[in-house]
């Protein structure tokens, strides 16, 4: 098996999010999600729909970074207004990177600190409220720390989660469907009691207590916690030569560490 980086391990793990998807629009925000969605579409999830990152639906995922003359192969458009129509219909899976997340799966990309005079103003809630309540959502979190996975609730709940107290009638809404979280340490899902977050696999060399110490809330342990699957030679070849030829993925983690400790 070839050597691989932590970034490549996470990309392969993120791609798995789309394995069971049929014909959905993949909204992949950020470098690792974009490479992961592209990898899935090029291999085991050909029905996935993707865009050039701006407007056109493309037949083949567009390589990341400078295109050097590469022309996206278009087969339709996905302007923002149409995106919302797709959001509401539900045939969409978002892979996003929140700044904070809590035990309910609620995410924050709006503001850190007190809301009226926030310590840090971020983007704003963007499309998170709609994405979360209408579409499947998964997350890539490159910095698994208690500052990201917070105790209590996130500072500004930008996305809907599994917190019955937040719904008018106490019922979790029908289309809310949080799927999986890939971090620099592990893979988690929402398969615990009442959708509690659960560790399903640990990256090579990572111990469960390291994950627990870096999480601000209690995690459920899956019955059999596996080791996160390494990217296959075929996957590495596609990532390195087709999707990310400029090795932008080396910037995902500081120092571009290996995926398996040497």
């Amino acid at each position: 098996m070839a050597d691989y980086s932590l970034a490549e391990l996470c990309i392969a793990a993120c791609a798995e999010i789309f394995r069971e998807e049929d014909e959905i629009l993949a909204t992949v925000i950020g470098l690792a999600p974009r490479i992961a969605g592209s990898l899935a579409k090029k291999t085991f999830a050909p029905g996935v729909m993707m865009t050039d990152g701006e407007y056109y639906l493309v037949t083949d995922p567009v390589p990341v970074g400078p295109r050097n003359g590469y022309k996206p192969k278009k087969h339709g458009v996905m302007n923002y207004e149409r995106v919302f129509d797709v959001v509401y219909r539900g045939a969409r899976h978002c892979l996003v990177t929140p700044v904070q997340m809590d035990r309910f799966g609620q995410m924050n990309i709006s503001a850190i600190g007190e809301y009226q005079n926030p310590k840090v103003a971020l983007l704003g809630a963007r499309g998170y409220p709609g994405n979360s309540i209408h579409n499947r959502n998964s997350m890539f979190v490159p910095n698994h720390t208690p500052k990201t996975f917070v105790t209590g609730e996130v500072d500004m709940v930008s996305s809907a989660g599994y917190n019955p107290a937040r719904y008018p009638d106490g019922r979790i809404p029908p289309f809310l469907d949080l799927r999986r979280i890939v971090t620099n340490l592990c893979v988690m899902d929402f398969g615990g009691p009442d959708h509690a977050i659960r560790v399903t696999s640990l990256h090579p060399g990572v111990e469960l207590n390291e994950v627990e110490e870096n999480t601000g809330f209690e995690l459920v342990r899956a019955e059999n916690i596996a080791e996160t699957s390494a990217p296959t030679d075929d996957q590495l070849n596609i990532i390195r030569n087709e999707i990310d030829p400029h090795n932008l993925r080396a910037t995902i983690f500081k120092g571009d560490p290996p995926g398996r400790p040497l």
């Binding site: 056109y56 919302f84 103003a121 983007l123 809630a125 499309g127 409220p129 930008s158 937040r166 719904y167």
Partner: protein
């Protein structure tokens, strides 16, 4: 038949605004923002504006100039520079009220105003702090079942301003770049809509099937049209010119203490032609590469 003539200047458009008005701004982030009009607002005494925008440096500049009383938004971002420095500074200082909503809720609010209904129902917003921080946004029980929905209130700008590639004096307009964003909804929702354009052309230029497909704004919603070559700079106006990333980086550094120097250098007392020269000239703007996402 008398020919319609809605042509005016950018200053005329801004002259239609009054203190305390609600202004809807077309474009998205750092793309096709009506920046010539924004610069004209910066030169004016206007104040206490409520701004509705898919925000970029339009919001950032108005925030640094102290023009905003209330911001209705889903995000403020420069796309290629994710966080907008001027917005952040002002937001962190609590300098204006916020009505922070989901991007889709913003569209529903405009659509409700355009349809002249008080609200449109949606699931979006449930379960989030959008409802906590906007107690004026109410929920409603479905009259047909037991679902509880958000009643997204109509968002009606007094005035909307959008920037397009070409327009004629009647108010017909062509958006040549890929995405029209929500410009037509800003225009339909607003009491009065105004367009700035890269080029004011004769109506016969639009007599083409491909062009006609990209004319989403009904001229009946357009009250006035003004030529503003490079009027979206430093945001992009595809396919003519891309985002001026270098300019936006310098602009970002001007948040806070540097703001008055930025105003002096690029806004105060400058005509559009002088602005163009200050930011490198027509050839340099035309050479700005289109953004790749």
């Amino acid at each position: 038949m008398t020919a319609l003539n809605k042509s005016m200047t950018v200053a005329d458009i801004v002259g239609r605004l009054q203190n305390g008005m609600t202004l809807g701004i077309g474009g998205w982030g750092a793309r096709r923002k009506p920046m010539a009009a924004i610069r004209e607002i910066l030169r004016s005494d206007l104040k206490d504006l409520t701004i509705i925008s898919y925000g970029g440096c339009d919001v950032g500049m108005l925030a640094s100039a102290g023009k905003i009383r209330k911001l209705i938004f889903g995000f403020v971002s420069l796309d290629v520079i994710p966080l907008e420095a001027h917005y952040r500074r002002a937001r962190q200082a609590g300098e204006f009220e916020v009505m922070e909503i989901d991007e889709g809720m913003l569209q529903l609010g405009l659509k409700a105003a355009a349809q002249r209904v008080p609200f449109l129902p949606t699931y979006v917003g449930l379960g989030t702090d959008i409802l906590t921080h906007n107690p004026d946004i109410k929920t409603i029980k479905s009259p047909y079942g037991d679902e509880t929905l958000v009643a997204m209130p109509a968002l009606k700008p007094d005035v909307a301003i959008c920037h397009v590639n070409k327009a004629d004096a009647e108010g017909n307009s062509w958006i040549a770049g890929p995405d029209p964003f929500f410009d037509e909804w800003f225009c339909r929702a607003a009491g009065e809509a105004y367009l700035t354009c890269e080029e004011l052309v004769d109506t016969k230029e639009f007599d083409d099937e491909t062009i006609a497909m990209r004319m989403p704004i009904e001229r009946s919603s357009v009250k006035g049209v003004a030529a503003a070559k490079f009027g979206a700079h430093p945001t992009s106006c595809s396919p003519g010119y891309g985002i001026d990333v270098a300019h936006l980086k310098d602009y970002s550094k001007a948040a806070g203490e540097g703001w008055s120097a930025y105003l002096d250098a690029f806004v105060i007392g400058l005509t559009d032609d002088q602005y163009c020269d200050k930011v490198g000239g027509a050839a340099a703007i035309n050479a700005l590469p289109l953004p790749v996402f």
